[in-house]
Amino acid sequence: MSLVLDHLVKRYGDVLAVDDVSLEIAHGEFFTLLGPSGCGKTSTLRLIAGFERLDGGAITLDGDDIARRPPHKRPVNTVFQSYALFPHMSVAENVAFGLKYKRVSKSEVARRVGEAMELVQLGHLAERRPGQLSGGQQQRVALARALVLEPPVLLLDEPLGALDARLRIDLQVELKRIQETLEITFVYVTHDQDEALTMSDRVAVMKGGKVEQCDEPRVLYEEPCTAFVANFLGSSNLIPATVSEGALRVGEFTLRADVDGRTGDALAMIRPERVRLEPHGTGGENRVPGMVEAVVYLGFHQDVRVRLASGALVRCDVPNDGEAVEHSSGDPVCVHLPANCLRVLEP
Amino acid sequence: MRRAWAILAVPGMAWLAAFFLVAFYAVVAVGLGNITDVYDPVPHWNPLDWNIGYLLQALEDVLPGGRTWPVFVRTLAYVVVAVVLSLAIGYPVAYYVSRYATGRSKAALLILLVAPFWISYLMRMFAWTNLLAEGGYAADVLNTLSLDSLFSAVGLLDGEDWLGGQHIAVIMGLVYGYVPYLILPLYASLDRIDQRLIEAARDLGASSAGAFRRVVLPLSRAGTLGGIVLIALPMFGDYYTPDLMSGSPRTAMLGNTINNYVQGGPDKALGAAMTLLLSAFLLVFMLYYLRELRRESAA
C-alpha cells in the first residue's frame, strides 16, 4: 500500500502553487509536509483529496490512478483545519455522515460510529451539536468522522493549528497513538516544526511549490541540504564563507570541514547549541576570535551573540546550569566550531 | 465538479436576461423606433433601422427652452433639496444610534428605524394625505402655529390647500418617503467605525468636533455617498409622491412626464426616448452604486 505523487503541478493563474512535486509515501507512514504559508503544502494535500484539479502529473494509490476521480470517489479522507463539522447535525450524525455512502447495515453503522467515538474518547458527547463543543473536542469529532470510514490514507490539514499550545501537545501524542494503533498512512500538513519533528516518520520541507528536502526528522535537523531547511527546522548560524582548495575560509581563518566537493562562495552552517564558547586566545583548530555583542537570558538557556572579525554574527547557546555566563557585551572571546558539526551549504 | 454546479445559475440568468436586459432593450427599440398612423409604437429591434427622431425631440424638450425643461429643473431642485434635508435628519439619527445608544434603547431604536420598511410606501404617503387634508391634524397644527402665513410669506405656500400643488408638500413627502432608506446604510457605515479610532484622535489632541470632522466624517463617506445614491435614483423616477402629495402639474416631476407619455397618451415612443435620456443622466450614479454593491458582495 503506497501513495505515489508523480510530478504534480498546480497553477493558480500565473502562480505555480505546486511545482513538480514527486513523493512516495509508504503504507502506515506518518508523513509530514512542512513549510511556511504559501509553500504549496496545503495545495498538495488538496490535490490528493481531489478539491483541486491537477494541471500535470499523476497520483496513484496502490497503483490505481485516483487523480481523475472527484473527491467523493477517492478512498482518502481529510481532517480540515477549520474542522468543517456540519453544524446542523449532532456529533453522532457527523460521524455517521460518510457511512451512508458505504453500503453498511444500520447495526454496522451504529457499531462503527460507537467505536470511532471511543477511539477519540468522545463517547459521552454523541448527541451534542458541534457548536456546543470545545475546539479540542471538535477536532476529535473531525478525526472520528474521517477515521470511521477506515481510509487507507488520512489527510490532515494543520489539524491542530487553531488550538492552544498545551492542548496541541496532548493531541499530538494522541494523533500518533491513533495512527500507530490503526496502522494507516497519515499525510500531515503543518507549518510547525515541533509538530513535524515529534510525530513524523518522514518530513518533506517545502518552499515555493517545491520539495526542498525529504527525510527523517533527525536527518533533516542534523544534515540539512539547504540554508532554508537549516533555518526552518530549529535555529542555525549561517556564516558567509568561501571554499578554496578543499578548505573552508571565514574571513582570514581557515576551518576544517567536510566541503563535499564544493568551491567558491558558501555558507558555513552550525547549530547554536553546537558552538562552544571559549576564553579569548584559546588555541586549536576551528577556533575563531570575536567580540560578545549581547547576552540574552532565555530561561532554560542563554543566547550569547558573538561578532566575528569577518562581520558575521554567531549565536551560541549556553545551557543554564545555574551559573551566570561570565561574559558580558564587549568581551573578546573565542568560538569553537567543531568540524563534525559544520555543514557547508550553497549560499 | 465546480463547473457542473454553475448550471444552477442558468435559469436565473436566463430569467434576468429575458425580463431585464431584453426589457431595457425594448425601451431602446421603442425610443429609437417609429409609430403607426394610430400612434401605436413600432419598435425597431434592428440597430440598423434605428430612428433618432424621438430621441432628438426628447433631448430638445429637456434642454433649456424646451417644454420639459422646467420639469427637469424642478425635479433636480426637488431631489437636491430632499437629499440635503434627508441627510440633515438622517445623519444625526444614524450617528446617535450607532455611537451613543446602548442596550435596550438601541435595540428598540433599530427596530423603529427598520419599521418603515415593513409599511408600504404608498400607505406612508397616504397617511400624510389624511393629515394634510383640509381639517387634518397636521394642517391644523401648521395653521395654528401660523406656519401657513410664514410659508406663504416666503413663497413656499400658495393658497390655503396643503395638498394643492405645494412644492413644500412634495419635498416633505419625498423626505418622509426616502429617509429610512438613507439611514440604514449610514448607520451600517458609522457602526463599523471602531470607537477606539475616535479615542485615539482625542488622545492625539483632537477636540470632539475635530475627531468627528477628521475621523468619523471621512470614514463614513462611502456609506453616505451610497445612501445618497440609493435614495436619489428612485426619486428621479418618482411620480406617485407628487401625485399623492399634490396632484397638480405645478409640482410635476420627470417621472410624471414619462408616466404620462408611456401610460397616458399616444407618445409612447417619446416616453421611451425620455426614459433613455433619464437612464443616461443617471448612469454615473448607477455605476457608482453598482461598484459599491460589487465591492460589498465580493467582500
Binding site: A84, R145 | M13, F20, F117, L244
Partner: protein
C-alpha cells in the same frame, strides 16, 4: 466622552415623525364616522360591518387585498428558488462570463423602478405580446426585481458557511446532489426564510411595476388601490385596507422571528 443632548432629541423626534402619521392613519381605520382627517369613535365599521363600503363587503377592496397576496405568494414561490440556485451557481462559477453575470445580477438593484417598469411594459406590449399585461406580467415583474435580493441574501450566507463543509461532505463520499441536499440546503435555511420574507415585503410594497403591468380592475393591488383612491375615496375603508396589509406583513415578520429566534444568525438576514 460627553454625548450631545440634541442628538437623542433629534432621533426620537424623527422616530415619532416617521411612525406617528401611520399610527394616526390606522386610528382612522377604526372610525365610526366617515372622516379620514379626525378621530370619530371606535368601530369595525370599515373593516367588517358596513354593508357596502367595508373591506369585507366592497368587492373591489377585498379583491385588491387578495390580488396583492396572490402576487406576493407567486413571487416568493418563483423568485426564491431561482435566486437561491443563481446564488449557488454564481458562487462556484469562476470562469469566463462570471464577471458579466455578477453585474447582470446586480443591475436590477441599481436601475430606477420606473425605467424597469417602462421597459417591461413596452416589452409585453410588443415583442413579448404573447404574455401581455395582467397577473402573469405582474408576477414576472416582481420576480425579476426580487431575484437580486435573494441572491445577495443567500450569497452572504454562502460566504459565511464557506467551502469547507461542502468539501468535507464530498470528501466523506457524498455525491454533489447529496451535498446540496444534506449539507448546503439545510445550512441555507435561515437565508431562504429571510429571502421569502424579503420577497413578500418587496412584492406587497411595490406600486410602480404592479401598476405598469396591470391590465384592469381585477389586477389592482392594494398600493394601486391606495394610489387611485387616496385623494378621492371619501371613507376610512381605505385606511382599513392599508391597516390589514400592514398587519399581514408584520405577522409574516413575527412568524419568521418565532420560527428562527433560536438561531440568532438568521436575524441578521432579516434586518437587511
Amino acid at each position: 466622552m460627553s454625548r450631545p443632548r440634541w442628538l437623542p432629541v433629534i432621533t426620537w423626534v424623527y422616530v415619532a415623525w416617521s411612525l406617528l402619521p401611520v399610527l394616526i392613519a390606522i386610528r382612522f381605520a377604526f372610525n365610526d364616522g366617515r372622516s379620514r382627517t379626525s378621530g370619530q369613535g371606535f368601530s369595525l365599521r370599515w373593516f367588517w360591518t358596513d354593508p357596502t363600503l367595508s373591506v369585507r363587503n366592497d368587492p373591489t377592496l377585498a379583491a385588491a387585498l387578495e390580488h396583492s397576496l396572490v402576487l406576493a405568494g407567486l413571487a416568493m414561490l418563483l423568485a426564491v428558488p431561482l435566486g437561491t440556485a443563481l446564488a449557488i451557481g454564481l458562487q462556484r462559477w469562476r470562469g469566463r462570463g462570471s464577471g458579466v453575470s455578477n453585474v447582470l445580477m446586480l443591475l436590477p438593484l441599481v436601475t430606477p423602478e420606473l425605467v424597469f417598469a417602462v421597459g417591461l411594459f413596452l416589452l409585453f406590449t410588443s415583442a413579448f405580446g404573447f404574455i401581455g399585461l395582467g397577473t402573469t406580467a405582474q408576477v414576472i415583474g416582481h420576480v425579476t426585481f426580487s431575484i437580486s435580493w435573494v441572491v445577495l441574501i443567500v450569497r452572504g450566507r454562502l460566504v459565511m458557511i464557506g467551502n469547507d463543509v461542502e468539501e468535507a461532505a464530498a470528501d466523506l463520499g457524498a455525491p454533489p446532489w447529496q451535498v446540496l441536499k444534506r449539507v448546503l440546503l439545510p445550512l441555507l435555511g435561515p437565508a431562504i426564510a429571510a429571502s421569502l420574507l424579503t420577497v413578500f415585503a418587496l412584492s406587497i410594497d411595490d406600486f410602480v411595476v404592479a401598476q405598469y403591468m396591470a391590465s384592469g380592475a381585477d389586477t389592482t393591488t392594494v398600493p394601486m388601490r391606495i394610489y387611485s383612491s387616496a385623494r378621492a375615496a371619501p371613507t376610512p375603508a381605505l385606511n382599513a385596507l392599508a391597516t390589514i396589509m400592514l398587519v399581514l406583513s408584520l405577522a409574516a415578520l413575527a412568524l419568521a422571528w418565532l420560527v428562527f429566534r433560536r438561531r440568532p444568525e438568521s436575524l441578521s438576514g432579516l434586518m437587511r
